[in-house]
Symmetry: C2
Subunit: 218 residues, 2 copies
DNA sequence: TTTATACTTTTGACTAATCAAAAGTAGGAG
DNA sequence: CTCCTACTTTTGATTAGTCAAAAGTATAAA
């Protein structure tokens, strides 16, 4: 039985390694789900028995094709729901993540399909994350991290890697929304900070915050 | 903790006795939830400990005010979601019940409020059931059962008491939608049947099916 | 008053998911 | 080669919900 707990484990594994190249450690998985390592181990065993992951004890775990397919569909549901909540219900982009976290486990394929049509088959969610197709394909855009961009570059905000409500509200307040045009004014290596000019503001970000913002050439 | 199981028990109790006048027996509750009587008994004990129902062993169970308030809110979520699925996503009224059955446990108050606004604060769901207000008030319309109406009366379909997909599809096919104008042609007491004229058809219904359709004067 | 019947409650067992804490393992430092 | 550290796995307990079947109770009929 694919319970919502199972879906959450699969989704976490997928998001920790989108390309399915590396093995994820039990601890990493446990931390991302905020459960104890012991809980993760026992669920990993269950998933392995169900053929959804491959487990090399003491080394790590990796999604099988079946597991990956299921995970991608959960992510698709999540992102379509998020965009729907923003576009159709007018909710704040900083709050829809939590809501979608619940809804992703219960909305039927028919509802997702109708939302998808209503939204005109969108490619990206409100945070700039790509929405997988019903067939499991992932559109990919080549982004680069704001923390690795150069001073003077004209950039466009493409994606937020941190879904935290407070972070997103902070970003929005300073004009850092998806699609916003920005310029890097200064990179202070000593202060570990980046000074950025947005349309309505000038912000100073630490590099770790900047690492969560992806940009592309404007 | 108010789990979705708890919500389902409370909702079932509410729907079995909207006015809160009578006690519901364990068996009746168990049947409406398709669980064994033993399961119902043990959940009733849990609910009683939580102050959500009053239980007189061997006689029956009744919602407390707190239990009733919670139940009404679940019903509100259910009905708003149903109407939303029909009106905004264009789903078939015969299928939205199942979907809402899942969603009612996870949609937040904010989402419900936004749906409610988008739907212009509707009073009735797609099956003609009244939608409780956010304050717990229930609009009530005086209907009467089709099975108790008289030959020759000009009637209007007001509400379906059976949410079964097949039944609703059957009803729709013969022009028995909410608001449809109908006339009773014949009541055959021997055959236990009612012959009804709708705008596009003439249907013969057994009295038990007719009992699930509520009507009001046209 | 006794008995039959229909219902309710109790009991014991099971599944899914969790945690805390004990036991075990991999791999590097001495 | 031994030991330390950091991690993973195992073990045992807990909670929520369920069922099947045994035991108990209310009520009406004989």
């Amino acid at each position: 039985m694919i319970t919502s707990t199972v879906e959450n484990y699969l989704k976490a594994l997928f998001l920790l390694d989108q390309d399915g190249e590396k093995e994820i450690s039990t601890g990493e998985l446990a931390k991302s789900l905020t459960v104890t390592p012991g809980s993760a181990t026992s669920m990993i065993k269950t998933l392995a028995e169900a053929g959804l992951v491959e487990h090399r004890p003491h080394y790590g775990v990796r999604l099988t094709n079946r597991g990956r397919t299921l995970a991608v569909h959960v992510v698709r549901r999540h992102r379509i729901v998020e965009l729907f909540l923003v576009e159709i219900l007018g909710m704040d982009w900083s709050k829809v993540h939590e809501e979608a976290e619940q809804l992703e486990h219960v909305v039927s394929d028919e509802v997702i399909e109708r939302m998808d049509v209503l939204l005109k088959r969108p490619a990206f969610d409100p945070h700039g994350d790509p929405i997988p197709g019903a067939d499991g394909t992932l559109p990919n855009r080549s982004h680069c991290s704001l923390s690795k961009s150069n001073v003077g570059q004209q950039l466009s905000v493409a994606r937020m890697n941190d879904q935290d409500t407070d972070f997103l509200q902070f970003a929005e307040k300073h004009g850092l929304m998806i699609g916003a045009k920005i310029t890097i004014i200064e990179h202070n290596k000593l202060a570990d900070s980046l000074t950025i000019k947005t349309s309505n503001d000038t912000v100073v970000l630490g590099l770790s915050a900047a690492a969560n913002i992806e940009v592309c050439d404007a």
